[in-house]
């Protein structure tokens, strides 16, 4: 038997329920200060609650970005139908493809927000630049809405990264990931 394989015997951790050796001051599973003062234990709990709150905020921003994606998909779909019925088949197909793309991004952002959000942001900016080349005036059409969309995506990217980090940290503390969708 390896020396390191000895399982600790002793009390149970109040935070995660793992067995804690009597010589240990901290739980080796979740880092809870089992022998700490009430203040230290409170600080530990606050650390977790604080992260849960941050994670909730981040998830809310991701949801907002996802709603933006839904709206984009809807608008592109309507534009696609409009162009298809007004005999501009090529533009119609392009818009329908874009609608499909944004819908894929919606589904994907549920599973992997950090991959879906930067991709959506970059695709959106690229399309705007491409359109501006064909017709420079296009860039300024609905500029306020475009800025709002970009801000929603930028926040989505940052929040997706934050959520990823917070989930990792919370799982390390053996606390249930909060607000995970």
């Amino acid at each position: 038997m390896d020396l390191n394989q000895i399982t600790p015997t002793g009390t149970r951790c109040l935070n995660c329920g793992a067995t804690v050796s009597e010589t240990d001051k901290f739980c080796t599973k979740c880092g809870f200060p089992v022998k700490g003062t009430e203040e230290e234990q409170g600080a530990y709990r606050y650390k977790i609650e604080h992260r849960k709150k941050l994670l909730k905020d981040a998830n809310q921003k991701i949801r907002r970005a996802r709603t933006t994606l839904y709206i984009m998909a809807g608008l592109c779909f309507l534009a696609g139908l409009f162009f298809s019925f007004s005999d501009n088949i090529l533009d119609g197909v392009v818009y329908l493809i874009l609608a499909l793309f944004y819908l894929i991004m919606v589904a994907w952002s549920n599973r992997q927000p950090f991959a879906a959000m930067p991709t959506s942001l970059i695709v959106f900016i690229t399309i705007q630049l491409l359109s501006a080349i064909v017709d420079p005036v296009y860039l300024f059409k609905g500029i306020i809405i475009k800025v709002v969309i970009v801000i929603a995506f930028v926040r989505g990217v940052q929040s997706a990264k934050d959520a990823q980090r917070l989930n990792e940290e919370l799982s390390q503390f053996n606390a249930k990931p909060f607000g995970a969708e």
Partner: protein, 274 residues
């Protein structure tokens, strides 16, 4: 000879060896913070409470700053491509100038991020059987895409699109087409998208995100909406090869073979070989 290669190998990529090896070996048995001996599988030190696997960071780091390599490269490349598309000049000289410029930009980024390329060009990771499979896969994909793209172009644009027409008036159309369409992209697009873009995203997030984002960027960068249907899957496949085998060689050879097959089919249709 073999031992000599192994020695260079171990000198060149100490990080790789550590990552590929058993992670238990890399973990210290004593706490790095207080020196207390640790239980196997412990996530925290029992003596000082220090977290052992994930580093705790209190403030959220700026993701756009961390991704700056990828973002600056992508938008710089996009700007170059847009300027090229804007200019109504479709002379072969301008194409070569743009190819050269894109190559230089890529080399500049590759040098600036050279730590990402440690061990990525070593031949010892390349297995001939895998390489043969990758090349066969690239030929198969090229034939399939050529067929589908032909149908789509005929249906949507009512005309055939020829990539190689620009080289028809040059002295050696086939040679220049191979140089410009097969060799240049196979080297520089791979160094960019499977090189520093992939590694940059993997650094910030994880390998899965790196495969997806680099694949999508690769597809979008070609500026063809219809083309996304095959360019994104191809980018994802190349990203997976990079992730699975940790080398750039498979991606480069697959890219070269794919593009070569596409233009050979085109030359065949144009009657170049008759």
């Amino acid at each position: 000879m073999k031992s000599c290669r192994n020695l260079t190998q171990s000198l060149l990529e100490p990080n790789d060896q550590l990552l590929e090896g058993d992670e238990q070996l890399a973990q210290p048995i004593a706490c790095p913070s207080c020196g207390n001996s640790l239980y196997a599988g412990a996530s925290f030190c029992g003596n000082c409470g220090k977290g052992l696997s994930v580093t705790e960071s209190t403030e959220s780091s700026n993701i756009f700053q961390q991704l700056s390599t990828t973002l600056i490269f992508y938008f710089l490349l996009l700007a170059l491509l847009l300027v090229y598309k804007l200019s109504s000049d479709d002379s072969v000289e301008l194409l070569w100038f743009m190819d050269g410029l894109v190559s230089l930009v890529t080399i500049f980024f590759a040098i600036a991020t050279r730590r990402y390329f440690i061990g990525k060009f070593s031949f010892h990771k390349v297995r001939p059987a895998t390489m043969a499979l990758v090349i066969l896969g690239a030929i198969g994909a090229a034939i399939a895409v050529d067929f589908v793209a032909g149908l789509l172009n005929a249906g949507l644009f009512e005309e055939d699109v020829y990539e190689t027409l620009i080289f028809q008036d040059t002295a050696y159309p086939v040679m220049f087409a191979i140089l410009s369409i097969c060799i240049q992209p196979a080297i520089f697009e791979e160094i960019a998208f499977r090189g520093f873009v992939f590694s940059n995203i993997a650094d910030v997030s994880n390998d899965r995100s790196a495969i997806y984002i680099s694949g999508f960027l690769f597809g979008i960068m070609h500026l063809s909406v219809v083309g996304l249907f095959w360019l994104v899957p191809l980018g994802l496949a190349a990203g997976w090869l990079r992730y699975r085998y940790n080398t750039l060689w498979y991606g480069m050879f697959a890219h070269f073979t794919y593009n070569l097959t596409i233009i050979m089919l085109e030359f065949y249709r144009l009657g170049q070989f008759e």
